[in-house]
């Protein structure tokens, strides 16, 4: 499986965020997206899953399921945790695994993996920011999808949980998955490619500096 993009451009609110972005990620590889605030890291991930229209350029997935859209084969871990405060930890995870199409909703193992198995009946409203994050990571483990798109996955996580996330990502890569992650920090993945969004001058920025 190979996810590739050539000359991607993104326009938000009439402003060009980035242009000329190209990358290629294969099965077993990870791509770290870096760049200053506002460089378009999140926009790039949202574009890959199909939540933002591709303004120019080409985005392709080779070797995936031809019957499905890219977004349907991918997990997207955004800034928001997509949790309902009035539902319990278990209900939140069971809903997402049901909605995302897990045949048998086994939520015990994913919850144990992120260390939330003791809180299964607690309403999500009582979780801390880091625990909420871990619960949304459990979603990636509960439903198997080959492509992981992670937006600042380590934010709000403590050192131990970051370590654990690194293990999940390595296991995912070893199992034939691929990862794209926007991050300021360290991903903890050796041999990850890097994509610097700052170094691709947008035409407007080039005009302004000249």
């Amino acid at each position: 499986m190979r996810l590739s993009a050539s000359d991607l451009a993104c326009r938000r609110g009439g402003r060009e965020v980035f242009a000329g972005v190209s990358f290629s990620v294969r099965t077993g590889e990870a791509l770290a997206i870096r760049g200053r605030n506002g460089a378009g890291k999140s926009s790039l991930l949202r574009m890959v899953v199909g939540l933002i229209r591709v303004a120019a350029g080409r985005l392709a997935l080779e070797g995936g399921d031809p019957e499905m859209m890219l977004g349907e084969q991918a997990h997207y871990l955004g800034h928001q945790d997509a949790l309902k405060p009035s539902l319990s930890v278990g209900e939140n995870l069971r809903f997402w695994s049901g909605f995302l199409g897990a045949a048998a909703a086994d939520i015990g193992a994913p919850l144990a993996a992120v260390g939330l198995e003791a809180l299964v009946d607690l309403p999500a409203a009582y979780l801390s920011a880091g625990q909420r994050r871990r619960l949304s990571i459990a979603r990636l483990l509960a439903v198997k999808r080959p492509i992981w798109l992670l937006d600042e996955p380590t934010s709000t996580l403590d050192a131990a949980a970051q370590e654990r996330l690194g293990e999940f990502m390595r296991a995912h890569l070893d199992g034939g998955g691929l990862i794209m992650a926007a991050t300021h920090g360290v991903l903890g993945l050796e041999g990850a490619q890097e994509l610097q969004l700052d170094q691709i001058p947008s035409p407007q920025a080039a005009e302004a500096s000249s």
Binding site: R53, G71, G78, Q80, D81, S86, L87, F95, L100, A105
Partner: protein, 222 residues
């Protein structure tokens, strides 16, 4: 569990828990209808004549109450992103959310209507007819409301815009719902005529609502 069943079960759970819309809607309905006899005075003939209209108006406003959070809550916590990415067609997801909304706000109104009808001096026959018009008409209110809820999804205080957008569209449902209920009470016009038009309005809104709402959501989320 299929994606649509998962959405349905989740939305019903959220609605019936603390802070959900189910109880608010039916309480609002009861309060509005209870206040009417106090405002109009104990004129039994007048109450009987305008009773169906009062009940229908209260039902219309009550079903709008929880509607503005229907998509906005999913938008704010990021769930809507994952729903848009999902394999389930957005139109069907929207319809499942509409069904959950009707089951938690429309259905309680139908159950509460006969009790509250006593306050407006409605007899058994009129109450039965009213329940029937509610059963057929309130899904139309929800499914027309879906369109407004989808258009107002990104707005912080979308409730007001929602009411302004949705209320004019519900005028036909109101006219024929009240007409059918009045026909059953007064017996001057056959009950069947307005009632079949009400059925037709509901069927049309069940089809148009999810498609229009899904189109609006896709547009808003760009």
């Amino acid at each position: 569990m299929s994606p649509l069943a998962a959405i349905l079960v989740r939305d019903i759970r959220i609605a019936v828990r603390v802070g959900g819309g189910a109880l608010i809607g039916v309480l609002f309905f009861l309060v509005v209808v209870t206040l009417t006899p106090f405002a109009l005075g104990p004129d039994i003939v007048l109450l009987k004549r305008i009773g169906p209209a009062i009940l229908w108006l209260a039902a219309l406003l009550a079903s709008l109450l929880a509607l503005d959070r229907l998509f906005a809550a999913d938008h704010e916590d990021g769930s809507l992103d994952l729903i848009l990415m999902g394999r389930a067609p957005l139109e069907l997801v929207v319809a499942a959310k509409g069904l959950a909304h009707w089951l938690t706000t429309g259905l309680p109104l139908i159950i509460a209507a006969p009790l509250i009808g006593l306050l407006l001096n409605l007899d058994g026959r009129a109450e039965a007819a009213l329940m029937l018009t509610f059963l057929v008409g309130t899904p139309a209110l929800t499914f027309i409301g879906l369109i407004g809820a989808a258009i107002a999804v990104t707005l912080r205080r979308g409730g007001l815009l929602l009411a302004v957008l949705v209320l004019p569209l519900t005028v036909p449902v109101l006219i024929f719902g009240v007409a059918a209920a009045n026909a059953a009470v007064a017996g001057s016009v056959p009950f069947g005529n307005p009632f079949t038009i009400l059925c037709a309005l509901t069927l049309a809104s069940l089809v148009v609502g999810p498609f229009a709402a899904a189109a609006a959501l896709r547009q808003e989320m760009e």
